[in-house]
Symmetry: C2
Subunit: 121 residues, 2 copies
Amino acid sequence: MKLSKAEEEVMNHLWHLKKATAKELIEAYEDPKPAITTIATLLKRMQDKKFVDYLQKGRSREYFPLVKKQEYFSKHVNGLIKNFFNDSASQFASFFTQETNLSKKELQELKAIIDSEIKKK
Amino acid sequence: MKLSKAEEEVMNHLWHLKKATAKELIEAYEDPKPAITTIATLLKRMQDKKFVDYLQKGRSREYFPLVKKQEYFSKHVNGLIKNFFNDSASQFASFFTQETNLSKKELQELKAIIDSEIKKK
DNA sequence: TTTAATATTCTACAAATGTAGAATTAATTT
DNA sequence: AAATTAATTCTACATTTGTAGAATATTAAA
């Protein structure tokens, strides 16, 4: 199961805030902010899909993520890789490295990360 | 503008084949293959969106991509990065490196690519 | 407690998507 | 030429998505 675009945006705010009410989520949006009922609808759908749950706090609900960004995202990336790069992560990686505009500094950082990953193997 | 999931799949086959008729595209699918009318619908929608065009070849049409995979994909990735990593490609990169299961060999290749990218800067 | 404010749910609806049968057109074979 | 086959277009329809007003319930303020 996957979140829709609009749901992903909610989720993203929620990951960031860790937990939040509908109202707080709206605040996280840029203008033009969506109607609160829109957020409510999305949250309900997300709950159906088991991506969030909530705790009743006073009169309102405090939603929280049921999946970690990492988890969600790694699945997402894997789908992407499968879809576009015939399941070759390294093909994707090299593409990525060449196409995104990483600065020299960022590339060096990335290299360091890769080095430490290599050491782990 | 973006392609839908199903359209992306057609596009992917098309990038691979370079050019193809609806029929040839279907062959590229795994079972259960979609109906040819489904492919036709998708191709027409993709044409409306200016992602493909065709040349009439005898009785049928030979479709070809109007956008390069690279182009399409780099936009796509950038959207993804923006969406999930607050526009930080390096954040995405390090995530990616740690989350996907690249082998030692692949990591070393990646490192080499990064090195050559660093040199270019 | 009447009223006002707030939160949540219902209902709605247009647009996009996935999917494909029916109809039509064009070419090929009898 | 008539019948068959193949390609393309039309039409259709169920789902999913984005969006939010109307209705309802709950709580706080007057």
